[in-house]
Symmetry: C2
Subunit: 69 residues, 2 copies
Amino acid sequence: MSQSTYTVTGMTCGHCVSSVTEEISELSGVSDVAVDLATGAVTVTSTEPLPENAVRGAVEEAGYQLVNA
Amino acid sequence: MSQSTYTVTGMTCGHCVSSVTEEISELSGVSDVAVDLATGAVTVTSTEPLPENAVRGAVEEAGYQLVNA
């Protein structure tokens, strides 16, 4: 099991949280996505470590930006 | 044809605009809903003047607030 926390900018409301959660959840091996709207922290739990590019792609697909670690 | 502009607070993004537009569009006689996210102005076009309570109910159903005129 792997867990990583990313920072996403641009989310302003619960709809934004839902969009990001939905896109990241579609990535292979993801079992949980937890978003803190106030801070932009997105914690992703997956069976194996995820390539950051995959997470970035999902976030951008939802219409938001992943901050470089 | 009747057109009225209301002010709605709490909308922060395009998803919020969509939710408000969708709920107000379901009111009987409404033919157009135009939302300005920056100002919260919502202009509703309808075949007959709408009771403000109907518009208020739709806005609240979407999860936002109508400012008293």
